[in-house]
Symmetry: C2
Amino acid sequence: MQLLETAFWSAGGSRHVMAERLGFSKSKANTLIAGLIDQGMLAEYGMQPSSGGRRAENLQLNAGLGALIGVDIGATSLDVAILRPDLTLLAQHGEAADVRQGPGVVLARVRTLMRELLTQSGLSAKDVLGVGIGVPGPVNFAIGQLVSPPLMPAWDSFSIRDYLREEYAAPVFVDNDVNLMALGELWRLRRSLSNFLVIKVGTGIGCGIVCHGEVYRGAAGSAGDVGHICVDQEGPRCHCGNVGCVEAMAAGPAITRMAVDAANAGESAALAACLREKGRIEATDVGEASRAGDAAANGIIQRAGNLIGQMLASVVNFFNPSHVFIGGGITGIGPLFLAAVRQSVYQRSLALSTRHLEIQYTPLGMQGGVIGAGVLALHETLKVRGVAP
Amino acid sequence: MQLLETAFWSAGGSRHVMAERLGFSKSKANTLIAGLIDQGMLAEYGMQPSSGGRRAENLQLNAGLGALIGVDIGATSLDVAILRPDLTLLAQHGEAADVRQGPGVVLARVRTLMRELLTQSGLSAKDVLGVGIGVPGPVNFAIGQLVSPPLMPAWDSFSIRDYLREEYAAPVFVDNDVNLMALGELWRLRRSLSNFLVIKVGTGIGCGIVCHGEVYRGAAGSAGDVGHICVDQEGPRCHCGNVGCVEAMAAGPAITRMAVDAANAGESAALAACLREKGRIEATDVGEASRAGDAAANGIIQRAGNLIGQMLASVVNFFNPSHVFIGGGITGIGPLFLAAVRQSVYQRSLALSTRHLEIQYTPLGMQGGVIGAGVLALHETLKVRGVAP
């Protein structure tokens, strides 16, 4: 249903504006909109500023349609959120988690959090319109299952959808975590960009692809698996079996390893102090040391940024996106990382590909995952119900 | 117009089949088809085999709509063809050319060939429905101009469209040569594949991308510029200014250079003999020596194939296509090259990306360029006329 689609992606508008966007006559739009309001799909909210005469109404998806649950399962974290149909947050909770504990342990915790957050929001399972779940591995989107996920072998072919079916009558949709970040940004942008990438740098490195205005998942659902692109033929061996994968050399664990090495080699008083006090060094600690002017920390961030930029240069030459948004845990590391990525991309990509290219941190930040999961839940639920194209 | 689109992409069918494909009622389809036949857009050809009762008609685009001209300008070659609306060839001519001579020289020759081939086909300029032209550089598709083409600097911002406007009333469309190869294969496949790549290896290396069932050109029209992806950080300097670009190390000129080196170093009697007799060695000569069992030639082909496979591995990890079709001058070099490409891709890409991946030479072969140009001409002309979506 084009009207609902427009109301959702454009975050509302007047009857007049919607009719114009869709090229419908005023009377056709009015009839269709009246029908959708009767069905409880659309509702009028607030008032739009108007240039004169009576103030125009603002049509949006009916908030009474129900709540959405967005879940973002990372390799080492877990975020659950309850969202309204306009994607604003009703309740949210995030905590550390270890995805390698397997689906039994992790999903039991997800289920508990879902219940608690619904109760907090004054809702129950029957108020749920749809559930969206992001996972850090390749997903067969049609059947909602992970396929040979390297970071989480115990999840191979596990049906998250079946696991939640008993508790929720609402449909459950599963996608790769970075695809959901891309979907979230696409929604934030009101689809004003058609061809862009979202790179997530955390425990691993993944890429969400938006092509022709839609999230692109590839022939087998593994598109965007950029973590194993080779950036050094003489590089260290990766868990995938190949050498010099960018993920093995520049993701979170590699940054931590370089920092521990620098601390132990006496190259950085700040990192050595951190290691002594906390017993470990995280990427954010390296960022903090860098901001305080620590040369070793700066060197590590520069090296990681350059390697990721080198991988990105190949991807930019191939895909020619208008924007690259970088998200995930790495965003806490500060501006030096972004500068190093940019330097490497601009140096290695063709002029035409980078002339108008923008590289920045993801505007939705750490909420991108759950918001994207909410977008997935709503959009796919409307499709399943036959009211969205 | 969905019906014309279907008739074109599906190479015809009965009223019944077309109505079914589009989800139209039988009576709606009949009315629309009668209208299009009246307008001279569709016509009935031959007869479809039928399972019983009267034999079904075969509706296709009306051959009387006019002829298409497809032009494929390569770095070192020039192909012009006159095609029917069903993309069968009426006349074709190919010859060596040097694109660096600039648009004046090259397009004057194109214009002469267009006239000659039309005459041969018993047609004149007024019978031309549309013209499609492929060029070996990045194109701003909307305005039909080349943008900073590295192989053909004299063509920068030159309007091929304006050049031909005096002679032909028909619209002229310009696109990158590899995009047209991809469009040609998409047509050959009747759009049965949605996500695949066409790699052209000749003087340079380029890639045509089909994504979500459409040719993807990127944010600035430079998508698929894979020739400058780095495959060796210690590699030789490329004309683009960077080092280790796959184009500098594995395209036609690199193969020739390696062959001349092998001949001069006394590593290959066959290549030395070729150099002595012809004064030069071409990629096809290396292929011939390889098929005759020459070890040096085999080594050169294997090395070029492995380097291109290494670049492709990155692209396959990122894009997860179902098929990669390899075309261009390299296809004359024989099966060993394809085997080396495959070996490299399967070794370096993730299992999920390659599980169902097929890598083969382009089925349309050397005619892919002019056929793709014909598809572009017809499809865009129908769009301009407001009868195709």
